[in-house]
């Protein structure tokens, strides 16, 4: 699909965030279209690439707290990737970051709009469960 044919295909996602009562900012460049926003103080992003407009990614990034063992984080991430619907959990071992993303292939961002609330819930719940699991592991080790 040629992006020029579909106009600003992130607009339906902006409208979905608007429906959710969320504020957002746009940061586009020659390669990608990006929306950044917060919900209940946590930061999220939506990204789509100009050369691949059918691909849309929603996500949130978090720093691993110092007391968390990276190997434990990778184990939990792998377990989540097997078990969880929608969400991909990735640990950046060098940076000690963890990224939760939902990647979708859609013919128009309009298709995502009705599901944005659910996808945000899934991202939020996955991040909360991830850190809860790691803290439980940490407590068990003590």
């Amino acid at each position: 699909m040629n992006p020029d044919d579909v106009g600003d295909y992130m607009l339906p996602l902006e409208e979905a965030l608007d429906d959710e009562g969320l504020l957002f900012t746009r940061d586009d460049d020659d390669d990608a279209l990006r929306i950044a926003f917060k919900s209940e103080g946590d930061r999220y992003f939506i990204i789509s690439y100009r050369d691949d407009p059918s691909f849309v990614m929603l996500g949130s990034g978090w720093a691993l707290p110092a007391e968390i063992d990276v190997d434990d984080a990778v184990d939990v991430a792998n377990e989540f990737n097997v078990r969880k619907k929608f969400v991909k959990t990735a640990v950046w071992e060098d940076q000690r970051d963890v990224l939760f993303t939902v990647e979708l292939c859609v013919s128009s961002a309009d298709e995502v709009r009705p599901h944005v609330g659910r996808l945000l819930d899934v991202l939020r719940e996955t991040a909360a469960e991830f850190f809860d699991d790691l803290r439980e592991d940490d407590d068990d080790d003590d």
Binding site: L23, K38, S39, E40, G41, D42
Partner: protein, 155 residues
Amino acid sequence: MTLVRDTVAAFIQDEGHKVDVSVIDESEGVAELLFRTRGQVFSVTTHERNPDFYTLATAYEIPDLARENTNNTETLAIVQGEYPEVHFTMAHDGGLFIAAAQEQPGSPEAFTKAFWDVVNRVRDAGNTAIERIVDRTESKAAADKFINSLTMGER
């Protein structure tokens, strides 16, 4: 001096949410702040004359199938016992109820610090109440069906 409502509204916006501020009583300095999170509209009532006092509330619509239940008020009272800081009020002829928490945190800053915890408590209480109301409706429907089948008997 910054108004209490402005401090709270600025916090909610900084957390990523649009806020609609309405002054309810200018002379008493009472305002209502409306915002939306996870698909639910919440209101915060602020008092300029009493910056220690806040009410955070949200409404839950009772599903159609459960509206005729005579024990919804009793169910709300039971759930309220499990969430003592949240108060339920039935409204619109039993069509919805309000879940509200009254907070006295000491200052607007202290209120914003605990803000999402209060939202979570009110939300948990409201969701639990809806689950119980629907659960009782389904249990009652199953019991009625069972009783009816017994009453009809078989020859």
